[in-house]
Amino acid sequence: MKRQQHEPSLSMRWPRVSLRNRITFWVVLIFALIQTTTQAVFVLHQRSTVNDSFDRELGNRARAVADVVSKRVPSLTRADIGQIITQELRFARYETVTLSVFDETGRNVVKDDADGLTWQAVGLTEVPAGTLAKITRLQSGGTHASQATATTPRVATAGVTGMDGLRYAVVLASSETFVQRQLSLINQLAAVSSVIGLFAAVLSARLIAGIAVAPLERLRDVAQHLGPESIGQRVQLASDVTEVARLSEELDKARIRIQDSMLAKERFLSNVSHEIKTPIAVLLLESQTLDRSGCSQSMLRFVKTVEEETARLGKLVESFLTLTRIQSGRGPAILKRYCLNDMVSDSIESCSLMATQHQVSLKAYLLDRDDVVDAAVIGDPDLLRTLVDNLARNSIRFSPVGGVVEIAAGLDGGDAWIRLRDEGPGIPPDRLDTIFDRFAQSRTSERQGRGHGLGLSIAKGIAELHGGTIEASNRQEGGCEFVVRLRRAASEILPA
C-alpha cells in the first residue's frame, strides 16, 4: 500500500521520458559542452595566430619599404610613394595601404601629400630608432587616413636614416580587410563545424540510445507475453549483455515462483473440490435412493427438499469450480479440436435426461454438407460442452411441457455458430442486458428454484475464454434465442 502511495508523487516529479530520449539529451548536452569549449579555444587561437602573422608580415614589409625609402628621403613625392607601394607591397591589392614618412619634427616629408597622415594622426611621439613599433590607434585626418580607418587599421613603423643623415619615421598603415575576412572565415568554419558536430552528436546519441534500449525492448516483449497462459514456458532472452542475461534469469525465477503458487492454488482447489463434492454426492445419493415406502407426507416433503437442494448445491459447487477455471485469466488449459457436430450431439446427450423429465423434445440440426461435417473449433472440449449444455439446460428449464428446444450448428465465414431456440416465455426486454450477469436469475421471484443463476454467466465466460461471443434475443414467434459464435479451426486432414 505504501509503495502505491509513493508512486504517483514520484511519477509527478519525474515526467515519463523514454530512455532513448533521455540518453540522447545527455549525450548531446555533454557533446555540445565539449564542442563549445574546444571551439572557443580553437577560434581564439586562430584569431591570435592570424593577427600575429599579419602584424609580422606588415612589420617585414615596413622594414623592406624603409630600406627603399631611406635611399630617397628627403626628396619623396606622391608618385614615389605610389611606385614603392606597387613594387614592394603586393598585398596592397587586397588591402588599402597608406605609406607616410615623417621627419623628427613630425612633418610629413612627402611632397604634395598634404592630405596624407600627420604625425599626430598616427600618434607617434618620436621616431623609433631601428625598432618597430606597433600603433593601434590612428587618428583622423587625411584621405589616406580615412581610407585606412574605414576598417580598424594596423600600423607598422620603422626608423630610417635618410640620405641627408637625418632620422625619419616610415609609417605603413593598412586596412584590416584581409584579416577580417580570415577571421570571419574562421568564424564561419566554426559555425559550420558546430552544426555538423551537433548533427553527428544527435545521430550517435540515437545510436547509443538504440543499443542501450534494444535489450529492454526485447525484455518488454518477453514480459508482455508473460501471462497466466504462458506461465509454463521458460523466459528466455539470449543475450551477450551481462545485465540483460541476468535480468532474464531473474525474470524466469520470478515466473517459476508465480507458477509454483498457481499450481499450489490449483492443487488446493482440486482437493477442496474433491472434499466438498464427495459428501454432497453421498447426501444426494442417499436421499435419491432412500426407501420412501412408509414415509409420512411431511417426511416425503423433507426428503424431496433435501434431494433438490443437495442437487443444487452440487451443481453450484461444480459451477464455482468451472468459474475459477475460466477466470484464471489463462486461455483454455487444453487446446483440442472439437467437432462442432460432436459438441452439439454430446451436449444433447448429456441433457437428454433433463429433457425427458421436463417433457421437452430436442431438435438438432447438425452441419450436414459433406465439406463441412468436420468443421471444428479449438479449445477445452469439456468446457465447450458445458457451454452448450448450460444453454440447452436453460432452454429446457424455461420450456413449456411438450415444447421443443432446437439446437443448430452452422458456419459463417471463419466463424462457427451454435444457436438455441426455445418456446418459453422469452426474456423480459429490460433484462436482456443483464441476463449473463452472475445470479441475474435469482433476482426475480418467478424463476426461483429453477436454476442457480450461474449457468449463463459461465456459458458467456467459456465463450469469451475461447475468443467467442454469445448473444441472447427474443424471437418474434415467442421464446428466446441464444447464439454462440466461436472461431472455426483451420480444417485439418485427420491422421490416417
Binding site: 435419491q288 444433447i348 423434445s361 447438425l366 450436414d368 469439456d382 490416417a496
Partner: protein, 224 residues
C-alpha cells in the same frame, strides 16, 4: 444383471448398492482397487462402477489392469474430479463412460442401461464386417489399408451398426440406443453421423457398407 461397485467411501458405496438393488440389479461392493481388480477378474459382472480415487491405487490403474487381464466388462468411472484431462485419461485407460460426482441417480441408471445394452451384444474386442474392423478398446476403425480415428459418437454409432448387421434400423432405434434419447423427428443428427462414417469408411471402396433404406432408416452390411 450384476454390477460391481469399487468405491472407497463406504456411505457412497452403500447408497449405490441400495439404489441399484432397488432398481433390480444385483450389486457387490468392495473398497479398494486391489480387491476390485480381483473380484472384477474372477466373477462375471455385467458392469463395473469404478471410483477414480481409491486408497491403494488410482482408478485409472485399476481400469488398465482389468483390461490387461482381458476383462471386457463395461466400466463406468465415477469421480469427484472434473476436467477434461481426467476424463480423457479415464477413457484412454479403457473405461467406457465417465460420471462426475455428485450425479443424479437417474443419470447413473441411464448411463448404466446404455452400457449394459452394449454389453448384451456379443463380447469381443474386434468387430468385423467385410474388410472393416473396429477395435472396441482402442476405438479405432480400419478398412483395408485405411486407419481411421473416430469421435466418441461416431464410434458408438459404428459399434451399434456393426453389432446389428444386415438389419434395418430405424432412426428412432438408433437414437435410443446410441444417444439414449428421442430426437425430434426433423433433427438431422443421425443422418449427419451416418454420413460422417460413410465419408470416413465407405468412400472409395468397391463395396458399400452403409445403406439408406428409404422411409425406414439405415442398414449396415454387405448386400449381395
Amino acid at each position: 444383471m450384476r454390477v460391481l461397485i469399487i468405491e472407497d467411501n463406504p456411505k457412497m458405496a452403500e447408497a449405490l448398492q441400495r439404489g441399484l438393488r432397488e432398481n433390480g440389479y444385483a450389486a457387490d461392493m468392495c473398497h479398494s482397487g486391489f480387491e476390485g481388480e480381483d473380484l472384477g477378474a474372477a466373477e462375471e459382472y455385467d458392469a463395473i462402477l469404478l471410483d477414480l480415487m481409491l486408497p491403494d491405487r488410482d482408478g485409472v490403474e485399476v481400469c488398465k489392469n482389468l483390461r490387461r487381464r482381458l476383462v471386457a466388462t463395461p466400466i463406468l468411472m465415477l469421480t469427484a474430479l472434473s476436467g477434461t484431462e481426467n476424463k480423457v485419461t479415464g477413457l484412454d485407460a479403457g473405461a467406457d463412460d465417465y460420471l462426475t460426482k455428485p450425479f443424479e441417480f437417474e443419470e447413473l441408471l441411464a448411463r448404466l442401461r446404455a452400457l449394459l445394452r452394449r454389453g448384451e451384444a456379443t463380447e469381443g474386442r474386434m468387430l468385423r464386417c467385410d474388410d472393416l474392423e473396429l477395435d472396441v478398446y482402442t476405438r479405432r476403425a480400419s478398412r483395408g489399408e485405411l486407419n481411421v480415428e473416430l469421435s466418441n459418437k461416431e464410434f458408438a454409432l459404428l459399434e451399434f451398426l456393426m453389432r446389428n448387421p444386415n438389419r434395418v434400423l430405424s432412426r428412432t432405434q438408433i437414437a435410443q440406443k446410441v444417444w439414449d434419447m428421442n430426437f425430434d423427428p426433423s433433427s438431422n443428427v443421425i443422418d449427419v453421423y451416418v454420413a460422417a462414417l460413410r465419408k470416413k469408411l465407405d468412400r472409395g471402396f468397391p463395396r458399400e457398407l452403409f445403406h439408406t433404406v428409404k422411409g425406414a432408416g439405415y442398414r449396415f452390411g454387405v448386400i449381395d
